[in-house]
């Protein structure tokens, strides 16, 4: 009985990983940022960058999310909500800290109402630096995290080609 169960567990785990990696559901939370990183995250969903091509879907509920994209230096007021969201996410769950503020507090490090970064409050799996990081950098960071869950050889390419129908005005200015 025992050996069969282990093999099945591995298969299920592999399937789950594949599904999660190929169609990760992402939750975005702003813990008190200036909105700079947030608008670049939203930009990844818009036609030029279109992260949805990769199956990344923005979710509203922590219960359905695999990855938490967190911005901001974590104000005291937002801290409780951040913890709550993290607790509501099912395992396995991953946290990506996006932007300088999320990494270390950025320019607000030391301010009286700021905790100083996401990892001061919850565990973080990946950090994407920038003020704010470009959408390409955000996608790159998310892909790197996903690739770390996949066996070598079946990784997602981190540089995405520009989709064919992008109007000239958008690419040549």
């Amino acid at each position: 009985m025992e050996p069969k169960k282990n093999v099945w567990d591995e298969v299920v785990k592999g399937l789950k990983t594949w599904a999660r990696v190929n169609s990760p559901w992402v939750l975005h939370f702003n813990s008190g940022s200036c909105n700079g990183c947030d608008i670049e995250i939203l930009s990844t969903l818009t036609p030029r960058y279109d992260m949805e091509r990769m199956g990344v879907k923005l979710q509203a509920s922590p219960r359905h999310a695999d990855i938490l994209l967190a911005t901001g230096a974590v104000t005291r007021q937002a801290r409780e909500r951040l913890v709550r969201i993290y607790e509501q996410m099912h395992e396995p769950k991953f946290v990506i800290a996006i932007g300088s503020c999320a990494i270390s507090g950025g320019v607000f490090e030391g301010c009286y109402n700021v905790m100083g970064g996401i990892d001061q409050v919850i565990p973080v799996n990946a950090y994407i630096p920038g003020c704010p990081p470009r959408p390409e950098a955000i996608i790159y960071g998310v892909v790197k995290l996903l690739n770390s869950l996949l066996p070598a050889g079946s990784q997602i390419p981190a540089a995405l080609p520009v989709p064919e129908n992008t109007p000239e005005e958008v690419t040549t200015l």
Binding site: I39, T46, P47, T75, A78, R81, V107, G110, C111, N113
Partner: protein
Amino acid sequence: MPENLAPKRFTIPIGPQHPALKEPGHFQFTVDGEVVTSAYVRLGYAHRGIEKAAEERTWIQNLYLIERICGICSHIHAMAYCLAVESLANVEAPPRAQAIRVLVAELERIHSHFLWIGVSAHEAGFETLFMYSWRDRETVMDLLEGLTGNRVNYSANLLGGVKFDLDQAQMDSIRKGVDFLEERTHHYLDVIMHDSTFLQRTRGIGVMTTAQAEVMGAVGPTARASNVKRDLRVEAPYSAYKTFPVQMALDTRGDLEARFEVRLNELFESFRLIRQILDNLPEGPLVARIPRRIPAGEAVVRLEAPRGEVYYFVKGNGSDKPERLKVRTPTICNLTSVIRLAVGHQLADVPMILAGIDPCFSCNDRMVQVRDAATDSQKMLTWEQLRQHGIDFYRSKAK
């Protein structure tokens, strides 16, 4: 919590929140059926303590702090700070620098209004409009990146001037970009004014009379849509607006439709102004010398950000750090007016009413507490759920 919102009985909470967790909602509404009878906003989620931090940083370090108060209107904050400090130091940035500052400010206004129209469309369930406007917005992001080196947080300002100059190639690409954006703005104005499903959410909704707008201290396009003649670029021209004047975009109707149209209409002024500046860019240096220790004194500066009036007060004590910095953003003025406005409206209208003031906080994670006074039940909604409620409400009405 204000007494009238404290629940007498706590019944079944619906939503993704665990019943045992008592979290104050960002927004708290009491409803009688569908009608909002009281509204309350909890602020502080983005309060970082910038004014205190400014007292502990030098005048130059503060420039980098100030740019990050708001990622959407970073330049206007930096410009206000520079103008205030330059006023204390009795230094004026050279004309070419002032013109470039205004050019970037107008490009920022364009990016901000396109961002806002996308977000508002999203609130109303118009996903295609959101996608199109944000795709078009990439054009102005490219222009700003080409000029300044960054898409967001341009860091164009120096105390005493600007960091970069424009060359012919950049000016040509700005002209080309502005032509494209102007054509797109016509399209969006057409949609706003004629699309029946959009109008259902905006026409006659959220009306604020001129008197109400004045009494509640509304600013920016929110005020101008109620015929309040408040636009600092016109009534108190600063920087290069003295040489390159603009016209005020006004509307008399005071409803959401008016707020939408005012923002789009003022974009045409921005396009015109940008072309005019490019055609008449003054020659000269880009920076004026400014001392490291700024003389003691007080200065007040008021600028027209995309959302309305931003007010800066600085006090120097003769050292290399400010004695006091006070920043009063436009959203705090408009928020109080819009919260009062929600009362008497349907809950389904709340997302659009809030979108109408173009609030400068991230709306992604706002918990909304709704208490029904009639049944004395209470529920917590995510902003997404409230938004969907609005969309569903109007969709069923249209049938």
